[in-house]
Amino acid sequence: MSFLLAAPIFSYAQGYQVALQGNAQLAMGHAGTALKMDASSVFFNPGAVAMLERNEAQVGGNFIFSRTTFVSQQNETFKSNNPTGTPFHAYGVYGADGSKLKFGVGVYTPFGSSVNWGDQWAGRFQLNSISLRTICYQPTISYKLSDQISFGAGLIIATGSVNLQRSIGVNFPDGTYGRAELNGNAIPSYGLNAGIYIQATDKLSVGLSYRSKMLMRIDGGDAKFNVPASFTTANNLQIPAATTFKAELPLPETFNVGAAYQVNEKLLVTGDVNYVVWSSYQTLDFDYAQNAPLLQDTQNPRNYQDAFIFRGGAQYQYTDKLALRGGLYYATTAVPDNYITPETPDANRTGLTAGIGYRVNDNIVLDASFLYLNVAKRTDFNSTTNFGGTYKTHNFIPGIGVRYQF
């Protein structure tokens, strides 16, 4: 039996990417590669950091209200009761007056998931709940070659943790099922975030950025199995009560290209295309330190496909103090047909965004954003587990950030 088939990952953007790295950009469809608006450029395009006119410290966050409805092969409806996700970001950018060199630092959460189906739903042997967190720290340096071109790069240090629970198909005397819980912290991994910013004309800017692939590796995570005691005794070791596990999950590389155009004094439009190399996620393997008849190492095909995200947004400077923003995006799914899992009931996604920026005084700007993310209804069956049905997800994600400029 391999009841640990999958690393369940749920997603808010695509795959298990969480695209919520700056409230101003988010309100504009989360396009930011060709913008030099604020310190979020540390994430969106380190090349633009050197172009920022002022030094800045920024913090922000979002509340993710994610709801999935699932109709099983047996025509039964189940609803996930997901905890509210609270991804956050913080950035700082500093350069001496008149210096061509700027230094930046970012802390953000580009991947993660939080889904809770409970232990009564049709897919409980795949997943009861999953909580996946990643945190990236990114010291950054950016250099302005001329007024037209700047580039920059940051070292990404990624850490994370996962908690995964699922039912085991073994009945206790009262008829209830056993349960598995995997818990682990990832070994820090390192990556690169680099970019170029080009001020092509007074009005037109172009940005290119790249974030490299990283691996979230867990070695020595805790695996606990709550099964009838007669399964864990020395003379009938079907499954150990506790052991450790190894697993790894790729955080895919991303190529980003964007353009922004200042139509007039008040109106700015921008667009991005992201290419996410999800094909690096081919398989998910669990390697247990102690194997037993009911606990074998597992190799679970994922075969993700590369995906595109198309983003567009605009900002209208309504008054000196108030900016109005709106945008939308469309993301193609990373999960091919026959590979859907309850952890990632992914499908093509449409995001509608809106928000405002409000300048409180010369130093402080507030950014509020709202994202409605509609994941297309998808009926699919996983050819490995033979489990599937119809999934439909929508997300409501309000967020707020504050910037201090100096």
Binding site: M1, S2, F3, L5, F65, R67, T68, T69, F70, V71, S72, Q73, Q74, N75, E76, T77, K79, S80, A122, G123, R124, F125, Q126, G169, V170, N171, F172, P173, D174, G175, V227, P228, A229, S230, F231, T233, A234, N235, N236, L294, K321, L322, I356, Y358, A368, F370, K377, T385, N386, F387, G388, T390, K392, T393, H394, F396, P398
Partner: protein, 448 residues
Amino acid sequence: MRHIFKKVLGVAAAAIVLVSCHPNVKEAGVSSGSADFSVYVAVGNSLTAGYGDGALYRSGQEMSFPNILAGQMRLAGGGAFNQPLLPEGSGFGPSGNGRFTLVATGLPGNAAFTVASNNAPSITPLSSDWVFAGDKSSLNNFGVPGMRIVEALVPGLGNPANGAGNFNPYFTRFAQNPATSSVIGDVFARRPTFFTFALGNNDILGFASSGGASGAVTPAATFNAVLNLAVDSLLKATPNTRGVIVGIPDVTRIPLFSTLNPTALAASLPAAVTTIFYRNSAGTVASYPLRSGTTNPLFLADGTLFLLPAQGLFAQGIGFTPTNPLPNNLVLDPGEVRNILNARSAYNGWITAYINRKNREAGRTVLAYFNPDPFFDAMQAGIALPGDTRRVSAAFITGGAFALDGVHLTPRGYAMVTNELISVINASFGATLPAVDARKYPATLFPN
């Protein structure tokens, strides 16, 4: 600008209201097709009653295949499904036992689990608790443990006045009038619009489970005659009554007979044991060449079956010498096995012939045949349920499909049979009943 923030807060508040809603996904429509499920009645034996682990017990009744099926039928116009439920927590088996339980032996080197029969039944036949106190005129499950097809038409099958051994106490419980009722008569009075008919197993099993030492296989001609009378009667219950007749599975493939197979015996008995001796039905000592691969490979196809309880005698050293043979009632010799298999084929032949004739006469499908063979075949290797690669199989204890008596099914096994029945009903009557999630129903309960 304050009003702007108030608006933002307003939007956020509205959003929070929205986020408590899940997206709506429409379930597929469910139709009964040409069938009418408003009064579904199940006619059968212990398998229909929900019997398992050596006893009829309350939670088993609640997870009987007809009750699971009726739950799906309710999605398509099905009515209430009333069962003659035992009191909560009660069970009763043929030797006065309660439900069998599994115990861990905990001794290194021994088999990990043994089946313990709980000899403290919580209910006594014919006691006031025993008799079903509910409304006997609105019952839907007429599963009577132990009943042979020939008994289904017998008036007074549940009459205690017939004396011990000459009445069926399980029918006494819920017969409209135990002194005079026949099972088919009571079923007819219920006017079913749809029925499942699953009888005939005990006409073989009574003989088989005694190792051929007692009872007799019901002659196929008798089976056919009773089948005609019984089902003819059911089809007349309403003008549009439809039904499914369940074929007789191959009893030699249930754990009672299949667990002590040559491979398992060769692996578990001491290497010095090359021959098993048993007393055959003629009273003489016969031998079975166990490690036939080294002597005569043809004997692998011998076909002798050792019943599961022989395991306990092997452990005591019985059956390894001609002077200390296994008793006749724990062995089916090749002749007895042929007798069983021939009866099964004949019964199923009569069932399909009957169904074909009835459908031809009616000019449409009024009866469907549930052929149990594909399911039981698949169950030998195991069936992977959606979402879990652990297979549910016919293996005793570990397989999860069969109960601890080695004959009946676990609730999960019954749920999987229900899904097979649903396929048959959908295919035959154009219905669209959804399958059930068989993992909602427990399999083997393992001790702590």
